[in-house]
């Protein structure tokens, strides 16, 4: 009886309701219990007063890539809450204004222009999707406002100009990491590739992987593709099964990979799946369940990392948003902290001094790996390879550039 009442109400309200015991973490951010650090959060009042430094973020909060945008936003938000709890920057609070770009580059360009000219933000954070980041970079560079992208891995983004930085590694490196791992550690000779044709990230990784793996003497048995938002991959997997590969490289996002793993097992494909940082999310284990066990992916950091900073981040994030942070949240968190550090180091908030300060970032201890920016404004980081076991990712090895 206890269970029936809430269920009925939920159905009547026509809202999809999670109806669970208190012990489980809340699925929505709004209802999360505020942590001690978030007590005097950036959440309350005071927008553009003189006591606030305003940052801008653009992310996909709706549309096909909303999941990633929301994770990034949460990471940024958490970083700023902590910074403000620790006294802010030069006695001022740091706040962020987030605009939704509906996963469209032209909306991202509009939002970033609005942030720069109307809201007068001193620094831009954003985008996950490289198309949108490229659009933003163009505008930020033209307006001479520094921009840090947390997770756009396409090399072209930072090539837009000296104002554009990133705190993650780039596609060519990550593709190489998995090719090397598959060939050297897993001793695979024949690998099939299943890429997301709607995602430049996925295509980029697949291309690099294919090239490197072939260079190392391996063979690509076939390349199939799907589109973000698909849920039925049986046709592609059946075609892949015929080529009898040793492994399948699926450089997509967790939202699809989990389901792909299940359907692969359902069709009797038992070889391990491999992927990139797009896999990193607690959702992967929910969506993939037992099917994803024994698969490998490259990532920025390992949640096993005993570093107290990492563990604290995971704990705080869980408390605030109810779930283990994914790679995008971690990168958003790092990007915001790099920004805050730069704000602290810079003598003023003019874009020139901010740019200088960001460019000098070296050995910055981020939760998603140590960040050192090279002269091309890319983070030089090593990557870790993780194996999925018992519903979580366990550390296997580190591969350096």
């Amino acid at each position: 009886m206890r269970r029936l009442v809430p269920m009925l109400l939920a159905a009547l309200a026509a809202l999809a309701a999670g109806c669970e015991k208190k012990t489980q973490p809340a699925p929505s951010g709004e209802s999360g219990a505020p942590t001690a650090t978030a007590g005097q959060s950036a959440g309350s009042a005071a927008p553009e007063g003189s006591d606030t430094i305003l940052l801008g973020e653009v992310g996909a909060l709706t549309g096909g890539q909303a999941t990633f945008g929301i994770s990034t936003r949460n990471g940024v938000e958490l970083a700023l809450k902590e910074a403000n709890a620790a006294g802010g920057v030069k006695g001022k609070k740091v706040a962020v204004r987030v605009y939704d770009d509906q996963s469209k580059p032209e909306e991202a360009a509009l939002a970033v222009t609005r942030l720069i000219t109307q809201d007068k933000v001193v620094l831009i954070l954003g985008e996950v999707a490289s198309s949108s980041s490229l659009a933003m970079a163009e505008k930020a560079q033209a307006a001479n406002v520094p921009m840090i992208t947390p997770s756009s891995t396409n090399p072209a983004v930072t090539e837009k100009g000296e104002n554009i930085f990133r705190v993650c590694f780039i596609d060519p490196f990550q593709g190489f990491v998995m090719a090397k791992f598959a060939h050297d550690n897993l001793k695979m000779n024949k690998v099939a590739v299943l890429q997301d044709n709607k995602s430049a990230y996925s295509i980029g990784l697949a291309d690099v992987f294919t090239r490197k793996f072939t260079e190392m003497g391996g063979k690509i048995t076939g390349t199939e593709s799907y589109s973000q938002g698909d849920t039925d991959y049986r046709a592609q997997l059946t075609a892949i099964k015929k080529t009898q590969p040793d492994g399948i490289y699926v450089p997509g996002y967790y939202s699809e990979v989990g389901v792909i793993a299940r359907q692969a097992r359902e069709l009797g494909l038992k070889v391990p799946l491999m992927g990139g940082d797009g896999w990193d999310s607690e959702k992967l284990y929910e969506l993939g369940s037992s099917a994803i066990e024994g698969s490998y992916f490259s990532n920025h950091y390992s949640p096993d990392n005993p570093d107290p900073r990492v563990q604290k981040f995971i704990a705080d994030y869980k408390a605030a948003y109810g779930g283990v942070p994914d790679a995008l949240a971690a990168l958003g968190y790092d990007a915001a902290r790099v920004a805050v550090e730069a704000l602290k180091r810079a003598p003023d908030t003019s874009s020139a001094s901010l740019r200088e300060a960001i460019a000098q970032t070296k050995d910055f201890p981020g939760v998603a790996g140590t960040v050192s920016l090279d002269e091309k404004r890319n983070a030089v980081k090593s990557a870790v390879v993780l194996k999925v076991a018992d519903g979580k990712a366990t550390y296997v090895t580190t591969i350096s550039p």
Binding site: P6, I70, G268
Partner: protein, 319 residues
């Protein structure tokens, strides 16, 4: 050979879902000549209702027979109610207006549902006994749909070349059942006769004493319930639910309905199956990147050869 068989099974499974969703499009189009663009999103809402029910039931109860029945019942009833409200407040006031007008409200509702469900807003109410009610919009992330039918192998062909799972069989039977019930409703009952009369000409039907408003509302509820059922089968098959799922499936099912001849009940079923198979074989034997282009190209080809779809007929205008 095994591969061909596997593709056939995959294609039929996908096609069955398309067919069920397409039936909803076709029925609504039949009575109102309205392309109900919100249909896919109604389906999505239904899936989330089923999801909430399943979570509420807990792991043990959700996979029992009555649990599954309850999940389907809750989703289908909830969706019927949703369909009723949409028809009553968004379509009925516009019935005598230009057809495009209702189409725009359909789009508006589709936007509101699919984007609204991406919000991660919610609140909690404490209930006595250590429980709390959490009413929350699901948020943008996909969620794993619980395995309400525990997977076991039903039939193994060759050296595990092709495996047919129990849930595939059960889903197929449920889909078949739903189609038969619909067939019975449309062609064997008073309501069905009234529905077909309204579909022929709702003004004349009204003159003949058929309560057109009620028939149209019932048709909407029926098609929405069907969508919920289809959505649940879809969620069982592909194990994940997300707010945008309605958009993708809806569009494909719409194409299926048109291929079969929109407004034609058997046509929707055939259209769905044909589309599922075409997509499957394009991916399996040609290039997977061109799947959607081939699906739409096939649609255009069918329309050029048979302007009314496979089973539809173009009504000759009386001059």
């Amino acid at each position: 050979m095994a591969q061909l068989l596997q593709h056939l099974i995959n294609g039929l499974a996908a096609g069955t879902i398309y067919a069920l969703v397409a039936l909803g499009y076709t029925m609504v189009y039949g009575v109102l000549k309205l392309i109900n663009f919100a249909h896919g999103d109604v389906m999505m809402v239904g899936v989330y209702m089923g999801y909430a029910t399943a979570i509420g039931l807990g792991r043990q109860a959700q996979s029992s027979l009555w649990g599954v029945a309850l999940i389907f019942a809750a989703a289908m009833l909830g969706c019927a109610l949703l369909g009723f409200f949409i028809e009553r407040f968004a379509y009925r006031p516009l019935r005598e207006k230009p057809r495009l007008t209702a189409l725009i409200t359909a789009i508006g509702i589709s936007f509101a549902l699919s984007y609204g469900f991406q919000l991660d807003l919610g609140f909690k109410l404490p209930l006595p006994g250590g429980y709390e009610l959490s009413l929350a919009l699901p948020g943008a992330s996909p969620r794993a749909f619980p395995e309400i039918i525990r997977p076991t192998e039903w039939l193994i062909i060759g050296d595990r070349d092709v495996v047919i799972w129990n849930w595939q069989v059960i889903s197929f039977l449920i889909a078949l059942g739903l189609m038969l019930v619909l067939q019975y409703l449309v062609y064997r009952t008073r309501f069905g006769r009234a529905m077909r009369a309204v579909s022929w000409d709702h003004r004349v039907a009204a003159l003949m004493g058929i309560p057109t408003d009620r028939v149209i509302a019932l048709t909407f509820m029926l098609s929405s319930a069907l969508a919920a059922g289809a959505g649940l089968l879809y969620a069982i098959k592909d194990t994940s639910v997300s707010p945008l799922m309605g958009l993708y499936v809806g569009l494909k099912a719409f194409v299926a309905a048109v291929i079969g001849g929109i407004g034609n009940v058997p046509g929707a079923v055939v259209g769905g199956l044909v589309l599922g198979l075409v997509e499957e074989f394009v991916v399996g034997y040609a290039a997977s990147t061109w799947r959607d282009a081939v699906a739409f190209g096939f649609l255009i080809l069918v329309l050029l050869v048979k302007p009314g779809g496979l089973f539809g007929r173009v009504a000759a205008e009386k001059v």
